[in-house]
Symmetry: C2
């Protein structure tokens, strides 16, 4: 299902209040680690799948890319991107990731941030990305961690006083739809195992070059006390691969 929650006004407004929407990349807890996995962008042709407000597109252009294509299903998101993150060389396209079509071997880098857990068919997507990449091209993406998506409610187990007990994992090998709550709205996500992500890349012909699970750095732990909970379970999975 190609869900486009972001064009529903209430959800879009909630999303707009998140730090990572308003302040850009440095407000995203995983960015310090994700940016280390990115290649040199000088002169590169880059695709950003699920570009949202366009913060990554801007980052890539500012580091010398030749061109960036930002793809997103949401009209409202791309309007916002065009307002705040439109530089020469950036093109925003409104299309569902599943429906995006490009010529073979046109991109040096394909990037995606926290988008693929909304996409139903990962194997078809992998085939396409592999085809669109030039030989030697890089594919870097982040997704919600399988530990985070497995059970479905995406919440801790609490005791009667409201203290966190632990993170529940269940239904790990039952891949597919999870109905969860995000920003006060029902959102449809897709759980996949680690095997599906990593072995899927290997079977498609990619070479894995990096696998990371971000945890808060010392400064975050000092400044935002509730970040300590992020040491208790992995929330995101960052993967880098080469064609």
């Amino acid at each position: 299902m190609k869900e486009n929650k972001y064009d529903q006004l209430a959800f879009f407004e909630q999303y707009g209040k998140m730090d990572r929407s308003q302040k850009g990349l440095d407000a995203a807890g995983e960015w310090y680690l994700l940016k280390e996995m990115l290649p040199d962008f000088t002169g590169k042709n880059v695709l950003d799948l699920g570009c949202g407000y366009g913060w990554h597109c801007r980052y890539v252009m500012e580091r010398g890319a030749q061109a960036v294509t930002g793809v997103d299903i949401s009209e409202k998101m791309l309007q916002k991107a065009s307002e705040i993150n439109l530089l020469k060389g950036i093109e925003y396209k409104q299309v569902a990731i599943e429906d995006a079509r490009f010529a073979p071997e046109v991109f040096d880098v394909v990037f995606s941030s926290l988008t693929f857990h909304y996409v139903q068919t990962f194997d078809v997507l992998l085939q396409n990305i592999y085809k669109w990449l030039k030989p030697g091209g890089c594919f870097v993406f982040s997704v919600e961690h399988p530990v985070f998506t497995a059970e479905g409610k995406q919440d801790w187990l609490y005791d009667k006083q409201g203290n966190i007990l632990h993170w529940p994992v269940d239904r790990y090998f039952s891949e597919g739809q999870r109905n969860t709550t995000f920003l006060g709205e029902q959102v449809l996500k897709y759980h996949r195992t680690l095997t599906t992500y990593l072995n899927g890349l290997l079977k498609q012909g990619f070479k894995l070059t990096g696998v990371n699970e971000p945890m808060p750095d010392e400064e975050m732990l000092k400044n935002i006390p509730e970040m300590a909970g992020e040491l208790r379970r992995p929330m995101m999975l960052l993967i880098a691969a080469e064609k």
Copy 2:
């Protein structure tokens, strides 16, 4: 700490009662998947780290290996291995994995089954294995999954009626010692994140060639009803890599 629980009589006897001890590889739920990740052994020089009863050493020799070195810390285990799984070409050595020493580039394959979560220093081990392997050599191993080792008790959360609720994950990014119960005895294991296993291999120079999380196959689910629980959380992680 180089723990050698297997030379304690009570533990050794309990271990000896496990299906995988008595019946060998086909009684191990993950074997159907792990064996698919192994290379052709014809004419190869193979190292098995934590060889136990020697079932894998025997398997490797029967598939045409030139020689297999089985390493284990436990005298009792190796006695048993010599009784039931000693073929020409197999040599068993009693030594802690951390203390094993071999000449550089002598092995075509390094294998290890469910042993590394007992070893404290994974990075040193990786350096050694990389050094001992010939260029192009294979490294295939299984460990308890980070989801399985994180919290520490290695047990489900149950309701008051004794029904399984879910698997608890906690302390994921706090790597290190876990005191857990196995076969009725306190056992010391080491929890590591997925990042430590996979990125550790990549940083050491290995190329990842396979990542799998075994789940029970249909026959197992039909014959052993409690196996259904194994679909609810990953218990093992199987990794294949090349030098």
